[in-house]
Symmetry: C2
Subunit: 189 residues, 2 copies
């Protein structure tokens, strides 16, 4: 998606350890107009697929998932990383290993909000090793919900997540795929 | 706001300790259509005030803040509760005491994203004692940004936050104000 790639080139910062900092429009400040355009783009790519629910993971996925929820006119469910007083015990739970943080954490959704046969669009901001995405897919499998598609804002194409998940047969659409970082610059696929 | 009150009566659950569980449309699953209507309502209430930026606090504030960002066509900044590799050191920081969790935590925004003179609309999902809101106001004060208004989805009117912050002269608009919980039922003001 040209508009997103342009924004990444203009405002993204490549940090050491292959980290792309896009705090100015994704991870700390959000550009709502761009996000609504991204949701339009996802809708175009997923064509006439029927979606009952958008599923994402707190925190950074919520903005773009919300935009998709508006476009599809369906509820947006965000998996939680921490237990809260209101979450209750009746949850689907999956474990996610974070390479960035070097530790495993739980992601959870309340069973009452994802039902058997519901058609789900999974949305997240970043895809690298794909561990968070696998966790979200696992939650859908536990609920016997049907993953119709997976929409990612920025995929690090040089890391294995995208290939693995596409290899499993999912329609995975990434709006920007980074081939590599070269001299501190982003090179798109 | 009638539509929101109706939804609270239909789907909200009153738990012990004066906790209102609205997980089905605010805190875990989001109803995008309702959120867009709430943003319209905020825009109506704040009238012709000019807004440059919407400020909220992760996690649950992001959805409604995003909806306001769409309606005002301005960026949405969400204050963070945890330090990340991309946040950097150049932050405004404020301390917030959480009565629910019984502890104090930091909220942070990157200095580059909130500038002197920017006109800010602060948005959050809940207002009870007002500590999170005071933290967000403090961040604006540190940045010398101008708080134009504060929009809250659900205010617990029987707790002191609303009165205190209105007493300081801020235009604070809450879409639903709860007067009390009575026999497990919500009574609106």
């Amino acid at each position: 998606m040209k508009e997103l790639q342009q924004k990444i080139l203009e405002e993204g910062k490549v940090l050491s350890g292959d980290i792309l900092k896009v705090d100015s429009f994704v991870n700390h400040m959000i550009d709502p107009k761009l996000f609504m355009s991204m949701a339009d783009e996802f809708k175009k790519r997923f064509g006439d697929k029927k979606i009952d629910k958008v599923l994402t993971l707190e925190v950074s996925g919520i903005g773009v998932a919300f935009a998709c929820g508006v476009k599809y006119d369906v509820p947006v469910l965000f998996a939680k990383k921490t237990v809260s007083k209101t979450l209750g015990d009746d949850c689907y739970k999956s474990q996610v290993y974070s390479y960035t943080k070097g530790k495993t954490y739980d992601i959870m959704i309340s069973k009452e909000f994802l039902k058997k046969g519901e058609r789900v669009l999974i949305i997240d901001d970043f895809l690298a090793n794909g561990k968070a995405l696998e966790g979200l897919i696992d939650l859908c499998n536990q609920a016997e919900a049907e993953v119709q598609g997976i929409g990612i804002v920025i995929e690090k194409g040089f890391q294995p997540g995208g290939e693995k998940i596409r290899g499993e047969g999912y329609q995975l659409e990434s709006l920007a795929i980074i081939d590599k970082f070269e001299n501190g610059q982003v090179v798109f696929r």
